[in-house]
């Protein structure tokens, strides 16, 4: 029992080591947090305000901006997380990755450390989007329980998509190829989800794809947690289960592929 507790402590130390290094880097150069806030602002202010004039997007008579805000929150986190792969390739090219790979830290601890730092980055994004949403008069629920729920969903989604991105990086191996494929992947993940329109208005084939898209479940949970009177379509338990299981599966795959980057 004591051995097990010790092993868990050690594992935690190594996950923390990786995440803490990433967070310190963000602290040294926090300008990224501000520049990353520009994109959600454009979506909410330009896209959102125009689309709000179109009737019939949301079935109930809710305001479109309210519908859109959780989707844009998920999107900004997704777009930040998807660049973790390119950072991984960058670290490999520099040589920094070698130092992680020759350390005794289990590979899954290294992957989880990266996922955790992505979660923290996602949370800073979330703060910016919340400020934007409040400024735009969106009915944001700021009760502590709901905020905690949103934080958990952001962390989970951010970890999930950064790990997905890491897997892609392990497969394509070069920056040039990743740049190409990163664009090709993020757009379908974003558009084939319920982020900016409800699944109900999609054609049948797209509905099927959206139901298999983890982003859909993240946005669904965020709609229930972020807005006053927000509703979840699938239920929070289903959302958490789908996201959690996908994340564990992706960490497992990434831990196997990650060491191949330094061969």
């Amino acid at each position: 029992m004591a051995r097990l507790a010790e092993a868990i402590m050690e594992y935690g130390t190594e996950v923390h080591a990786v995440a803490d290094a990433e967070i310190r880097k963000l602290r040294h150069d926090p300008s990224e947090i501000l520049t990353r806030a520009i994109q959600p602002a454009i979506w909410l202010v330009l896209f959102g305000e125009v689309m709000a004039q179109v009737r019939g997007i949301t079935s109930d008579n809710g305001r479109y901006l309210d519908f859109l805000a959780p989707g844009i929150l998920a999107q900004s986190v997704l777009f930040a997380a998807i660049f973790y792969g390119i950072a991984a390739i960058w670290e490999r090219d520099l040589g920094v990755l070698h130092r992680y790979m020759v350390s005794p830290a289990p590979r899954s601890a290294l992957v989880l450390g990266k996922a955790l730092s992505s979660a923290v980055r996602g949370l800073t994004q979330a703060v910016m989007v919340y400020l934007l949403a409040l400024a735009l008069g969106i009915d944001v629920d700021i009760s502590p329980v709901k905020l905690l729920g949103v934080a958990c969903m952001i962390a989970l989604g951010s970890g999930l998509f950064s790990t997905f991105s890491l897997i892609i990086a392990c497969i394509v191996k070069t920056r040039e190829r990743f740049m190409g494929i990163g664009q090709v992947l993020t757009m379908p993940i974003f558009f084939a989800s319920n982020a900016i329109y409800p699944i109900d208005i999609m054609p049948g084939w797209l509905k099927t794809i959206s139901r298999a898209n983890p982003l859909t479940y993240q946005v669904d949970a965020l709609r229930a947690l972020m807005l006053i009177g927000g509703q979840s379509k699938f239920g929070l338990a289903v959302d958490c289960l789908v996201l959690g299981a996908t994340f564990v599966f992706l960490v497992f795959i990434a831990a196997r592929l990650y060491p191949r980057m330094t061969t």
């Binding site: 040589g95 070698h98 350390s103």
Partner: protein, 270 residues
């Protein structure tokens, strides 16, 4: 986390690595003794880096066996990682972190007990004369400072064996001498065994107890610098020894990627 006592910190038997049809390392039998500084030399593409990647567990061998720090290379990779230190040729210190933060990262990755971390980091900074620069971002360090930081971060856990891939490439003579002194200091103070690859014959003469010469994936000769020189002629230099083995094929190896890596590493540390 000390490894069980081994007679040879590195011992390989017929260790080989092939990429498709290309044999990069060809049946290498190598024994590195305790507390020695062993130099591995050879032209570009001779297989030095591939051999080191296998010894540091980054690359699985195609055939052959090896024990590193007393552990089996195939079955005990994690124990090996815990008991060796590795300074890659490429930049392994993170430029976006300070010197102190780089060391803290290593202290945690190598599970140095929390109570000892501060003390170890302070000692490592003193030994590498980086105390004054500890809170500056590593990207503002000079090439020599970066190398010293990289050695510090890979020896923080007091490894029994330190492996360095061309540690002085791109450094000026003063910085190079400082690295040599530090490496000797590690051996004298902690009894660390050191394996180093290099192109610089002066480095071999100044630093290494024994040398192995690699050519086309094979370990052609092993001996003290004096033995190897005597084997070629009365007034031979190590360059002559090198030419006697690797001469003939001027363009012996080194593809675009090798050249790019070496040049970039040299400019990163220069």
């Amino acid at each position: 986390m000390l490894a069980p006592p081994a007679i040879f910190p590195i011992e390989t038997h017929g260790l080989s690595k092939a990429f498709d049809q290309n044999v990069a390392v060809d049946h290498v039998d190598l024994q590195v003794r305790q507390r020695e500084i062993f130099g591995l030399i050879g032209p570009n593409g001779a297989g030095k880096s591939t051999l080191i990647k296998m010894l540091t567990t980054l690359l699985p061998p195609t055939s052959g066996d090896a024990t590193v720090a007393g552990c089996d290379l195939r079955r005990e990779a994690r124990q090996i990682r815990a008991s060796i230190g590795y300074v890659p040729q490429l930049l392994s210190a993170d430029g976006a972190l300070t010197g102190y933060e780089n060391l803290l990262l290593s202290a945690r990755l190598y599970l140095i007990p929390r109570a000892e971390r501060a003390q170890r980091i302070r000692e490592a900074l003193e030994m590498t004369e980086l105390t004054g620069a500890a809170d500056r971002l590593a990207q503002h360090y000079s090439g020599g400072m970066l190398r010293r930081l990289e050695i510090a971060q890979s020896t923080l856990h007091r490894p029994a064996l330190l492996i360095m891939d061309e540690p002085t490439v791109g450094l000026d003579p003063v910085a190079r001498t400082a690295i040599w002194n530090h490496v000797r200091g590690l051996r004298d103070r902690f009894g660390t065994t050191i394996l180093v690859t290099t192109h610089v014959m002066e480095e071999v003469d100044a630093l290494c107890d024994r040398v192995g010469i690699m050519h086309r994936g094979r370990l052609e000769k092993v001996g003290t610098p004096a033995e190897l020189k005597a084997g070629v002629g009365p007034s031979a230099t190590l360059d002559d020894v090198f030419m006697a083995i690797a001469g003939g094929d001027v363009e012996s190896g080194g593809d675009y990627r090798d050249v790019r890596q070496t040049r970039r590493s040299a400019s990163d540390h220069g």
